[in-house]
């Protein structure tokens, strides 16, 4: 009896050996397993594209930029881009796939992509401490075999990857760059005013090639309208982020661009129709109110400020105001009573000088300045620069006033459209 009892004890003690799996609280695949699996799937998709990925980045701060990425198994990536002339050459850096709230693709050492996010304004061309409001850490939004859409973790920029072909691997960025260079010849135009001629329509355009924005000014019969959008380049041409709707025409891209240096003209096609961009001496459309708006609304209630003085035929600060000794500030002082405005130069030692002006407005929207004496005494050293600026400013034809931003205006010579001054 005792033996049976003891044998029973033995059997029980053997049965009691633990089985680990029974302790699992929630049977099935764990979240970590699933996450790691997703990360490795994403990685192998990135790595296994034989010819890499062509990509377009749309920084939250505007514009769009093209890239070609070649991801390797060893967590390294080769990048080419059209950001500037120096970014077409391949540059190698590192990347990582990591779960940060969502499965993410991190470009964790510097490559061209980071130029746009660089808080150093001299590198990004954006604001100090801000850059172009872009990203280099992205989470996966949607993935199909041949395309991946990502969103920036920090600023919500968008990065779209599309599997490249053998052909694109070799020439995608060079073709994009070619279009960028062709279009950026617009900076060689010596006139301020540029017009897009398409069909029988003329549309004034103002282009900022650094920030890749374009402003269209047109009139469909119901008054002058302006429309600003960012753009980016594709192998086909220039693509607008938001399409322009004008006169029954929807313009999404400018294609087949060709630059003629001889005529200062870019020939192109819009929706298959021939079109062109060329310089003109005066704008097609002028808002007759804008000159008064400018005059009545200096940003601080008192004056507008210019940094570089006059640009003549594309040469910034033609009259060399930057060389005035101790120059601190150049202001267009608005002073209705007594009725003298002034283009006043201020120096760091507390002196000020410059021409007194009387300002009037014409019916077609120009502002005309006439000379009315001097404020202060212009030092001998500054006299040539101040006098040249005064003579230019008081031309009888006056100036077209072009609004270039919420608080920035350009005054463009109505004489020939080749001389202008920016105020902020």
């Amino acid at each position: 009896m005792r033996k049976i009892w003891l044998l029973g004890l033995l059997i029980v003690s053997m049965l009691s050996a633990c089985d680990k799996d029974d302790n699992e609280v929630a049977p099935g695949e764990r979240p970590d397993e699933r996450l790691n699996q997703v990360l490795s799937e994403y990685k192998s998709q990135l790595v296994n594209a034989e010819y890499g990925w062509k990509a377009t980045l749309f920084p939250e701060g505007g514009a769009g930029y093209s890239f070609l990425f070649d991801f390797s198994e060893n967590d390294r990536v080769i990048t080419r881009s059209d950001i500037n002339a120096g970014t077409a050459a391949p540059l190698e850096s590192t990347y990582r796939l990591k779960a940060a709230q969502l499965p993410s693709l991190l470009f964790d050492t510097y490559t061209y992509l980071h130029i746009l996010a660089d808080p150093d304004a001299t590198k990004s061309g954006g604001e100090w401490g801000e850059g172009r409001v872009s990203d280099y850490e992205f989470s996966f939004d949607s993935v199909s075999p041949d395309s991946i859409i990502l969103t920036g973790n920090y600023n919500d920029s968008r990065l779209i990857l599309v599997r490249a072909t053998a052909d694109e691997a070799s020439n995608y960025i060079s073709r994009v760059n070619e279009n960028a260079q062709t279009f950026e010849n617009i900076n060689n135009f010596t006139s301020y005013f540029k017009q897009l001629e398409v069909g029988n329509q003329s549309i004034d355009i103002v282009v900022n090639t650094d920030l890749r924005t374009i402003t269209f000014t047109y009139d469909e019969g119901s008054g002058v309208r302006t429309f600003t959008t960012s753009y980016y380049f594709t192998p086909e041409g220039l693509r607008l982020l938001q399409p322009l709707n004008v006169g029954g025409l929807v313009i999404t891209s400018l294609n087949e661009m060709q630059y003629s240096a001889f005529r200062n003209r870019i020939n192109l096609t819009v929706n298959g129709t021939e079109a062109s961009i060329q310089e003109t001496s005066s704008p097609a459309y002028v808002d007759p109110q804008v000159a008064r708006t400018f005059y009545n609304n200096p940003p601080n209630g008192a004056y507008w400020r210019t940094v570089n003085g006059f640009t003549v035929e594309g040469v910034v600060d033609t009259f060399n105001v930057g060389s005035i000794a101790n120059l601190e500030l150049i202001t267009l002082y608005i002073q209705a009573s007594p009725p003298y405005d002034g283009l006043i130069f201020w120096t760091t030692d507390g002196k000020f000088f410059g021409p007194a002006l009387r300002s009037r407005f014409t019916d077609d929207g120009r502002i005309v300045f006439t000379y009315g004496g001097e404020f202060g005494t212009t030092p001998e050293q500054a006299a040539p620069m101040v006098n040249a600026t005064r003579e230019q400013l008081t031309i009888p034809e006056g100036y077209y006033v072009i609004r270039t931003g919420p608080n920035t205006y350009d005054l463009v010579s109505a004489k020939d459209g080749k001389t202008w001054i920016s105020f902020q």
């Binding site: 033995l10 060893n74 964790d108 808080p119 401490g129 850490e137």
Partner: protein
């Protein structure tokens, strides 16, 4: 209890021992983001391992990690090709002079354990920029490494300034400096940044920031004396008004005494080595 029972119990015990499960302590799935970052090691990782981890137990984090730095600042990662120039310069001009002067154990036990490299500066809302930060003597974040050029003396000095500054904090937090240092000049103020460098120096403070507190004053003195060398430091002192010169010389003596008494380091010899290293770049 008779023998039979004991034998049976032993048997039972051993059987139950055999049948008990063998527990595998490793979790079957590595948890994402726990247990350290992993990536395929490249030549740069090997270089850092050989030159910083093995000899000094210092980790150099050059791949961007959002959570090592301020979350509300716009920053960019370091360029890979800048990592070795930056770290080599640090090794030659900071670690090696100390190592030669105070021995290997000194630097191994006191050096901060982590360097985090960031490509850009940190832009602050008050219009200033941050070039380096240190957290509790353990971690140093170095900014603007993408602009680093070992051939530019100003760049090298600016970076070394940060490192010497932070390392000196570790030193005085380990062994306190002489109490009388705090009484040499007494115009410490939280609004130090409202005054010019000339103003600070005319009051006996080697930099503007030195005026913020005795601790900062002490480490700024050490940092400037090491990056400018004896000659450079003397030139700064001699250009100051006479009252300030006296204060500078008193502070200098206390720094020298502190290094001797606390760490058995000949400060002037360290200063000379440091200068030679900077000049040799």
């Amino acid at each position: 209890m008779n023998m039979k029972y004991i034998r049976l119990f032993l048997l039972l015990f051993s059987v139950s021992f055999i049948s008990s499960c063998s527990e595998d302590d490793d979790p079957d799935t590595p948890l994402p983001n726990l247990g350290g970052e992993t990536w395929v090691q490249g030549p740069l990782d090997t270089w850092l391992y050989q030159n910083f981890v093995t000899p000094y137990n210092i980790e150099v984090k050059y791949r961007f990690d959002r959570y090592e730095v301020a979350l509300n600042r716009v920053l960019v990662p370091a360029r890979e090709d800048k990592v070795i120039p930056v770290m080599e310069t640090i090794k030659k001009t900071w670690i090696e002079p100390y190592e030669q002067e105070a021995g290997a154990t000194f630097i191994k036990s006191l050096a901060p354990k982590q360097f985090v490299l960031v490509g850009s500066a940190e832009y602050n809302t008050n219009g200033t920029i941050t070039l380096g930060t240190a957290e509790g003597g353990r971690k140093i974040v170095l900014f603007v490494v993408n602009d680093f050029d070992p051939k530019l003396e100003s760049e090298v000095k600016q970076m070394l300034h940060t490192i010497h500054h932070e390392f000196a904090h570790i030193l005085h937090q380990t062994v306190m400096y002489p109490e009388e240092y705090k009484r040499i000049t007494t115009g410490y103020t939280a609004s130090w940044n409202d005054f010019s460098l000339v103003d600070a120096r005319s009051r006996g403070y080697i930099t503007q920031y030195a005026r913020s507190s005795p601790d900062e004053d002490f480490v700024e003195m050490i940092s400037i004396m090491l990056i400018e060398g004896k000659e450079g430091f003397d030139a700064i002192v001699n250009s100051a008004p006479e009252s300030a010169q006296t204060a500078f010389r008193q502070k200098e003596q206390l720094v020298v005494r502190y290094f001797k008494e606390a760490w058995n380091i000949d400060f002037y010899s360290l200063q000379a080595r440091s200068q030679t290293a900077i000049d040799a770049l």
